[in-house]
């Protein structure tokens, strides 16, 4: 019998270590404790009701039933994402982008949006731990005072701090203050993720200006601190409006799919070992010399087309190298940009915003490990990082850590590092704490808390102050002190209020640096060819879990990964050709060996990936992530080395299989055309879709006829819409076992299709919400009338009336309906219910559900419009998916109004309905994907 549900038991009854009998407890002690517990249990009933005072005067800012929005900032690899947080009567429920913040522009990616779930995660660390046992902050404070007495006389010699790189002025000031107090202490910084200032400055791209882009392993659309801004700008150059587009052309050179690669007009899949040779060939072709013979046909064609395009006059060009790339390749890209005259036009350099290169910093994790090995460290404070998990395998940090007498760890979870230190201190969630952050462009945001800490937690700024031995100051006062000093003028409070309201600190922007080095003789540096390797390992952060820090987030675990639709597990991604050679299929377990480091991992075949490489994502194999994230997938950090190189990869089939859960099983369009594409040159020849004829009269339209248009030319497939929908509409997480059974609950899904010949694959993404058909097949077959048509054209689902025959789903040609096969709700007393949107029903077992076009938002706008006695304005209603989309690919509105944005989008000649031949007349339509081949 299969397991009944994979929803993990979250009962505190089975807490870590609860089953261990304390060694010093005897019978008398036990009876004493039991007696005291019983007595206290009785006393619990005597709790004074003084905390239960209702409002006698309603606070001005709170209207019961109406949400309030507060501006704040969400850390993304240390950088700020400006956010607006929706709160219902003081309870934060949803994170949205802040339109006034340049790095958000009103959009929010999936990871940012999922942070709201982490706030209510029952597995969060809730109290300090001393050697794994619950302790209190005063206990830690006294322990630290003792340590302080030892350290202070020697100027902090032997004290080491380990943090993640930060952009927060307050945190940085706190660190510097701590280093002032202990001048001989050393501060190390560790992140497994990329540095963005490898050359001492940050490249910043202007994708709105670039006409020809070469992306080398280019992750500028995914997982870049400025990805939202870049996506918006990039999409602006792909959007066909009124039959016209100022299209850019994107060349992608990459080993494995990136979101940019999927948007590329021309893509070459090449393993990392081939990169230097291909880039050298680009330089050769640029200097009009014959291409070397070593290039194969596809490489040659790519290089020729690219250089021809780069050479064409009047084009602004841009070369982007992925931030995880080796320094040589990044330097090559930088030089190419200089040679092509891109600097100052499509690329600008900013002074480093993050603290990676802070002059007071003593190095990275490897340097710390070496210092420990030399016996130089006697006290170590790990603040915010989880190096035991994220450290490269050959650093062997856990073993080193054991040699340090006094260790402490500050973190949101009692994670792998917490288990290896003497003191673990719980850190506040960013929605609970005051701080400040800077965006990639240097703009500063005050991180404003939405709620008091739910548990006995403190922020990093507060802990730094505690460690420095200064009198305690609240986070609020700390941040204000930083900015008061910075502003230096009067009317600080006026500024402060304005900053909090807008979510942006005005006038704070890092100037663009101009690091233009002297012109070199050579146009671009010659890259040393790599030794031919049969197989290279490419280690990448997980698209959602990053370095594993979000592993305990159910929304992210169950959010299908781009290109694989895998959920709950990571896999070793290989090309189908390699799979055929090694006789490997999806889910086959292989022994992965790389320079003596070994893990076991399941493989997954991805069409369009370069043959000579295997991709592994970090974030799996966590052992102490929490009930959701522990034991998912395999730990790719075990393959990581300090140098970052990973040659000589060897795969050996074990003959065993594991079941990988994917929400999509068919990635070929199979001769059908759910995603329609057209080449830019055919734009003028497109003819609008003719409405299908019918024997029946058309439905009469009301004042409003809601409709949606999704632009496949700009959709990059980032899944922000899926996360937004999940947060807005109380969509449950069902667990791996249920996904394996085909029961994922997302109301909008992002379909992935690979098209084209092997070696020249294209990847298409297609978000699919409910089509809200005018002739809805689902409505006809429901025996109880639980799904009905509204006068405004919504295909409505009446949960109360649904008996669960599921015929509607069978008859839905788009398969967008979702069924509550089990009771997927959280337990009635779960803290997770605090995240629920009170305007959306939480569905019970046995009822069907589906996309509603965010009917609660329509109705809120309607009641506001009726109150003001005016019609609903175009753009007043934004569905959750539309709001989150950084590419502005989703447009929603009233199709009965020909002037509305959505009606205009639908009037584009590239507009088409999915399965138009069925004459379901979908209100959700698509704009065909524009491709701009040379």
């Amino acid at each position: 019998m299969p397991p009944l549900t994979s929803l993990p038991a979250r009962s505190p009854e089975f807490a870590e270590g609860a089953d261990v009998w304390p060694p010093d407890l005897d019978r008398r002690g036990f009876l004493g404790l039991m007696g005291a517990s019983l007595a206290l249990g009785g006393l619990a009933g005597c709790r004074a009701a003084k905390t239960l005072v209702p409002y006698t005067h309603q606070p001005d800012s709170v209207v019961p039933g109406l949400p309030s929005f507060y501006a704040s900032a969400c850390p993304c690899e240390g950088f700020a994402r400006g956010i607006l947080v929706e709160a219902h009567e003081g309870r934060p429920t949803k994170i949205e982008g802040n339109p006034r913040h340049a790095e958000s522009g009103g959009a929010a990616d999936a990871v940012t949006q999922a942070a709201i779930l982490a706030l209510y995660d029952p597995d969060r660390s809730q109290a300090p731990l001393h050697q794994g046992r619950p302790a209190s902050w005063p206990e830690f404070e006294s322990a630290w005072r003792e340590e302080d007495r030892r350290l202070a006389p020697v100027g902090g010699a032997g004290l080491a701090l380990l943090t993640e790189p930060t952009t927060s002025p307050t945190v940085r000031a706190g660190l510097h203050r701590l280093l002032d107090r202990f001048p001989r202490a050393r501060w190390f910084q560790h992140t497994a993720l990329a540095r963005y200032d490898a050359e001492g400055f940050q490249p910043d791209y202007d994708l709105a200006e670039a006409d020809v882009i070469l992306a080398i392993e280019g992750g500028f659309l995914d997982r870049h601190p400025a990805a939202l801004r870049y996506t918006r700008a990039f999409a602006g150059r792909r959007r066909v409006e009124k039959g016209a587009v100022r299209a850019n052309r994107l060349y992608a050179l990459e080993s494995a799919w990136s979101l940019a690669g999927a948007m590329a007009d021309r893509r070459l899949a090449a393993p990392p070992a081939r990169l230097p040779a291909i880039l050298n060939a680009v330089a050769t072709a640029w200097s009009r010399e014959p291409l070397p013979e070593t290039l194969d046909r596809e490489e040659r064609a790519f290089v020729t087309a690219l250089t021809a395009d780069l050479r064409r006059p009047g084009r602004k060009v841009l070369c982007i190298a992925g931030d995880e790339q080796p320094a040589a390749i990044r330097r090559w890209a930088q030089r190419l940009n200089q040679v092509l005259g891109a600097v100052g036009k499509t690329i600008r350099y900013r002074a480093a915003v993050r603290s990676d290169g802070d002059p007071r910093s003593a190095g990275d994790l490897g340097a710390l490990a070496d210092a420990i090995a030399r016996g130089e460290i006697s006290a170590l404070a790990i603040l915010g990082a989880n190096p035991v998990y994220t450290g490269p395998a050959d650093v062997e940090f856990a073993a080193r850590l054991a040699r340090v007498p006094f260790t402490l760890h500050l973190g949101g979870y009692a994670d792998e590092t917490a288990a290896a230190v003497r003191w673990h201190l719980p850190e506040s969630h960013f929605l609970e704490a005051w701080s400040d952050l800077r965006g990639y462009d240097g703009s500063a945001v005050i991180q404003q808390p939405l709620i008091d800490p739910l548990y006995d937690t403190r922020s990093l700024g507060e802990v730094l102050r505690l460690l420095a031995g200064d009198p305690p100051l609240s986070g609020y006062d700390l941040v204000r002190a930083t900015w008061r000093a910075r502003l230096g003028a009067d009317d600080f409070d006026g500024h402060w209020t304005r900053w909090l309201n807008a979510g942006v600190v005005d006038g704070e922007n890092t100037p663009t640096a101009n690091p233009e080095p002297a012109e070199a003789e050579e146009p671009v540096p010659y890259l040393d060819p790599e030794p031919a390797a049969a197989l290279t390992l490419v280690l990448r952060p997980d698209p959602w879990l990053g370095d594993g820090r979000h592993a305990n987030n159910g929304w992210l675990q169950e959010l299908p990964r781009p290109f694989t639709a895998l959920v709950w597990d990571n896999a070793l991604l290989i090309s189908p050709q390699l799979g055929r050679e090694q006789r490997l299929e999806n889910g086959d377990l292989v022994r992965v060996e790389c320079e003596g480091r070994v893990v076991e991992a399941p493989v997954w075949l991805v069409p369009g990936q370069a043959e000579g490489c295997a991709v592994a994502h970090w974030g799996g194999g966590r052992t102490r992530a929490g009930a959701v994230g522990s034991g998912r997938g395999f730990d790719a950090f075990r393959l990581q080395s300090r140098s970052g190189r990973a040659r000589g990869l060897k795969l050996t089939a074990t003959g065993r299989k594991t079941r990988l859960a994917s929400t999509q099983h068919q990635f070929a369009m199979d001769g059908r055309d759910p995603v329609q594409t057209f080449a830019l040159r055919d734009l003028g020849r497109l003819r609008p879709e003719q409405p299908a004829i019918s024997l029946y009269p058309a439905r009469a339209r009301d004042t409003y006829a809601w409709g949606m248009s999704i632009d496949l030319s700009t959709c990059i497939g980032c899944s922000a819409c899926v996360a937004a929908c999940q947060a807005e509409n109380n969509i449950p997480v069902v667990g791996k076992e249920q996904v394996l059974r085909g029961r994922v609950m997302h109301w909008i899904r992002v379909d992935t299709y690979f098209a084209g010949e092997p070696g020249a694959e294209r990847c298409h993404s297609q978000p699919v919400p409910c089509m809200q058909c005018e002739n809805a097949p689902c409505e006809l077959v429901c025996p109880v009338g639980a799904t009905v048509h509204s006068s405004e054209g919504l295909n409505e689902m009446v949960y109360n009336r649904c008996v669960g025959t599921r015929y509607c789903s069978n008859n839905c040609p788009y398969k967008v309906r979702r069924f509550n096969f089990f009771d997927f709700r959280a337990a009635a007393d779960s803290i997770l219910h605090l995240q629920d949107n009170p305007e959306v029903t939480v569905r019970q077992r046995g009822v069907m559900e589906k996309c509603t076009y965010c009917v609660q938002r329509i109705n809120r706008a309607r009641s506001e419009a009726e109150r003001d006695n005016r019609p609903i304005r175009d753009g007043e209603i934004r569905t959750a998916c539309q709001q989150a989309c950084p590419a502005e690919a989703i447009v929603f509105g009233n199709v009965a109004d020909p002037a509305s944005a959505v009606a205009q989008r639908k009037a584009e000649p590239s507009s088409y309905s999915l399965l138009a031949e069925l004459n379901t007349r979908p209100r959700t339509t698509y704009l065909a994907k524009m491709i701009n081949p040379a």
């Binding site: 077959v781 025996p783 669960g804 096969f821």
Partner: protein, 453 residues
């Protein structure tokens, strides 16, 4: 089917007398000890029935997620089994009503038994539409009852038609069966030795005294009910066919479905009658009443309806090809070559090839062959419903939403559970009620004697 029996054999053992008929039929019920085989069979079926109750209990506790259904395959075993059982339930009414109207006297010895089989099959079938609901507690919302909010069922949905079709069929079949039982219940009352038996059969017999007026009313009513039941045989499975045909799903959306489903239902129903009658006549030594001739005639019905089903398959394939519709063509190709191809080919073997053995007179008069073929046809018809329901759903229009349906332990246990439930009811019926109509058999014996003299 010919109005004249194809063989000159008698349909009643020539040595049978009025007394011997009554004794053969009522004797095993009224005179213990009950055969060991009966006890063992009933015990086995009852245990399986308890398994069904456990499966249903767990279903109510946990929800339909315990089955293998998903999105896209939101219907699985429950609907497959529903259609299968309803199909089986067709033979009874067909035999007793249509053959009565057509004066096929050979039906007499098997009609009671097949009607009972019909009722039990419909009982099994009727469980599924309720069990498969996400919220079975609200199954009554499919009924048109006056409620304070003025809510009615959605009459365009074939599932509502289904409720009417199946409930009407069940009601008429039950009344028809019961009316036919009345004279025999009176016989049982008169012959029962125990007080409980006398009282029990007495109450059920509704005061039948064999009065001439009773007989006159009885025969009129019986004929009227036969007339009422006849269109139902066609309507029920037509509507079940429309459950699918109304959908826009390729593989379901097909005008051939109503007649093709009726043909298939009679096909499977007769196969089930054969499956049950062969052991029962051996067990209760009724070879004199249910003769080889009966079995042969039923084999011919199986052969005929088998060809109707074959035509249905051909028509589906041909229409898909002729339509030129890529989705329709894909569904047919996917059935033959996709992941469920074994089910498809086994279905064709069982339903198209195997029944053709009955062209041979020798084979259709061989009891082991009859039994084997009947079992295979039952399997084949179950697979047909599986193929229709699952292969159409699992790969429909948009490739990204394709999936697989893998039945779980609970799917199987509910299915096998209803087989146990069906057999348990049948065993009880054999034990408590006359399995062959004594009154009608007596009439046949008299007629045979008269024509003999």
């Amino acid at each position: 089917m010919s109005a004249h029996p194809p063989s000159p054999e008698a349909i009643v053992d020539p040595t049978a007398t009025l007394t011997s008929v009554t004794e053969t039929v009522s004797g095993p019920i009224l005179h213990p000890p009950w055969p060991r085989l009966w006890l063992a069979g009933f015990a086995g079926a009852f245990v399986v029935t308890l398994g069904l109750f456990a499966a249903i209990g767990w279903l109510f506790i946990r929800g339909v997620g315990i089955w293998g259904i998903n999105i896209p395959v939101a219907w699985g075993f429950a609907i497959v089994n529903f259609v299968w059982w309803i199909g089986i339930g067709h033979a009874g009414t067909f035999i007793s009503a249509i053959l009565l109207l057509l004066h096929q006297t050979w039906r007499t010895s098997i009609n009671r038994f097949t009607e009972a089989m019909t009722l039990f099959a419909v009982a099994c079938a009727a469980l599924y539409p309720v069990l498969h609901l996400g919220r079975p507690i609200y199954a009554y919302w499919l009924l048109p009852y006056p409620d304070t909010m003025g809510l009615w069922p959605q009459f365009r949905s074939p599932l509502v038609w289904d409720v009417f079709a199946v409930s009407t069929y069940a009601t008429v079949s039950l009344v028809y069966w019961y009316v036919g039982l009345l004279p025999d219940l009176a016989t049982m009352r008169d012959r029962a030795a125990s007080t409980v038996g006398r009282r029990g059969y007495g109450i059920l017999a509704l005061g039948w005294r064999g009065d001439a007026r009773h007989w006159a009313h009885h025969e009129k009513l019986y004929l009227i009910l036969a007339g009422l039941a006849t269109p139902l045989v066609v309507s029920v499975h037509s509507i079940v066919g429309m459950d699918f045909a109304i959908a826009i799903l390729p593989g379901w959306h097909s005008t051939i479905f109503p007649p093709y489903f009726v043909g298939g239902a009679i096909f499977s129903g007769f196969a089930m009658v054969l499956t049950l009658v062969i052991p029962v006549r051996a067990l209760f030594r009724m070879e004199g009443l249910i003769t080889l001739r009966h079995l042969e005639l039923m084999a011919l019905v199986v052969l005929t309806t088998g060809w109707i089903v074959t035509y249905g398959y051909f028509s589906e394939f041909f229409t898909a090809w002729w339509s030129g519709d890529e989705f329709e063509r894909f569904v047919q190709a996917n059935r033959a070559l996709g992941p469920y191809a074994p089910a498809f080919w086994l279905m064709l073997t069982c339903n198209v090839l195997i029944p053709n053995l009955f062209w041979s007179r020798r084979l259709r008069r061989s009891v082991p062959v009859l039994f084997g073929v009947a079992i295979l046809v039952n399997v084949g018809m179950w697979l047909e419903r599986f193929v229709i329901v699952v292969t159409s759903l699992h790969r429909d229009f948009v490739p990204s939403s394709w999936g697989m349906y893998i039945p779980t332990f609970w799917d199987w246990s509910t299915f096998i559970g209803t087989i146990g439930f069906f057999l348990a009811l049948l065993f009880l019926f054999l034990r408590l009620l006359p399995a062959i109509s004594m009154s009608e058999m007596r009439g046949l014996v008299i007629k045979a004697k008269e024509s003999g003299e």
